[in-house]
């Protein structure tokens, strides 16, 4: 029987090659590290734009504050799921975790569509301003996604595409939350569609490219 001998000899060879390794930090710690980077972006935006405008909008239109909170929850949950999926043996069912935050974010943003009707005279976004939102969300998602992929470089995601999808969701949600700091107008239907398109672009681009980037551990 050559094969069992081959397995035994492989075990001995791997034993001979053994070196101590640095364990992967737990998913919550890596999530905290990534959220810290998001907080740095937020601090820079707040320093530049100030918080007064944002707080006034929140008081006048509480659903915007709710949508922002939903986006932050979605970003934190999706980032944690991405890091968890990088550890073999963790259940893929955790991928549902960002759903409540996502529902809050989308639901509260959807309320903004009624704003014209509820509060006539509120300033809503024109086409050019909506395009700015698209550029903002995609622009901030690129470094945030790249940071997540980098933080996952030593991980072993057995479902690379699902992990990349979570990376896309986390960075798009975080970018949408950051946008709230400098969003100059109420969320109307056109603007909401632009946000949704930006999030979809970021998520799909990550699923398409990130899936490949994350497979190196399995080759």
């Amino acid at each position: 029987m050559a094969e069992p001998r081959l397995t035994e000899s492989l075990i001995q060879s791997l034993g001979a090659e053994l070196t101590p390794v640095r364990r992967l930090p737990p998913p919550w710690l890596r999530t905290a590290g990534w959220l810290l980077a998001v907080a740095v972006f937020a601090a820079v935006l707040l320093w530049h734009y100030g918080a007064d405008h944002m707080v006034r909008r929140w008081i006048a239109e509480p659903d915007i504050a709710l949508a922002g909170a939903g986006a932050v929850i979605t970003a934190a949950c999706a980032a944690w799921v991405a890091f968890s999926l990088g550890v073999p043996g963790r259940s893929a069912r955790w991928a549902w975790l960002p759903l409540p935050g996502l529902l809050l974010w989308v639901g509260a943003s959807g309320l903004g569509c009624l704003r014209d009707w509820v509060l006539p005279g509120t300033q809503v976004a024109g086409v050019h301003q909506s395009a700015d939102c698209l550029v903002f969300i995609i622009g901030f998602s690129v470094p945030l996604s790249a940071l997540l992929v980098w933080l996952l470089r030593r991980a072993c995601p057995l479902r690379p595409v699902l992990t990349a999808l979570m990376i896309g969701l986390a960075s798009a949600a975080a970018s949408a939350a950051l946008l709230e700091i400098c969003h100059a107008f109420a969320v109307a239907a056109t603007d909401l569609l632009t946000h949704a398109a930006a999030v979809a672009i970021v998520v799909l681009a990550n699923a398409a490219m990130g899936g490949r980037l994350l497979q190196s551990a399995l080759k």
């Binding site: 397995t7 060879s13 791997l14 001979a16 070196t19 101590p20 364990r23 992967l24 057995l158 551990a217």
Partner: protein
């Protein structure tokens, strides 16, 4: 008495978890024990995925190599068996996919043999030469460590000790590199066609 020994009296799963934790710190004995203990679990996980009996050893070896490469991802606070089973299931699926691709390739070749039977030996000789050329090219394209192992152990037919003395590498590293090279060549000639 080490931590790994102290916990060896626990349940088999906790014992494996303790051995793997010790292996992460560089304990070679604990590592070889946990790998040997993992073999039946890997076979079981591969059988559950539907891997044929004659392919089980391949899956076992691939999984052991993967365990070695990603051993830093194991968290001793969690189940070792679940971690291992996930890696084994993934390697079993890879083996089934590669077998499926190979199966299609061979079917295609059968068809080719029927349609274009060997007319004369010169053609067969040319084909053999072509195959040898492809193999040489594929070996040249391997990463340096793997290419060195194939050249030393396969082509120059040196013993492990001779190859180790000649290259200054450990015999274990040479064997692992040879295994990886064979896997890469197999994938190139069967899996990706």
């Amino acid at each position: 008495m080490t931590d790994a020994d102290a916990q060896a009296s626990d349940s088999p799963e906790r014992r494996r978890a303790a051995w793997m934790a010790a292996a992460q710190a560089g304990d070679r004995i604990a590592y070889e024990r946990v790998l040997a203990d993992s073999v039946p679990l890997i076979r079981m996980a591969a059988r559950r995925q539907g891997v044929a009996v004659d392919q089980l050893d391949d899956v076992v070896q691939e999984t052991l190599l993967t365990v070695h490469r990603v051993r830093h991802t194991y968290d001793p606070a969690r189940s070792y068996d679940a971690w291992l089973a996930a890696l084994a299931a993934r390697r079993a699926i890879d083996a089934l996919r590669s077998q499926g691709r190979r199966g299609r390739h061979e079917l295609h070749d059968d068809h080719a043999y029927d349609a274009y039977p060997d007319a004369h030996d010169a053609t067969a000789a040319t084909e053999r030469e072509q195959e040898a050329r492809h193999l040489r090219k594929a070996i040249a394209a391997l990463p340096p460590g793997q290419r060195e192992a194939v050249e030393q152990l396969g082509l120059k037919e040196r013993s492990l000790a001779e190859a180790a003395a000649h290259t200054g590498r450990q015999t274990g590293a040479l064997k692992v590199n040879l295994h990886r090279a064979i896997k890469a060549l197999r994938a190139r000639f069967h899996g990706e066609s």
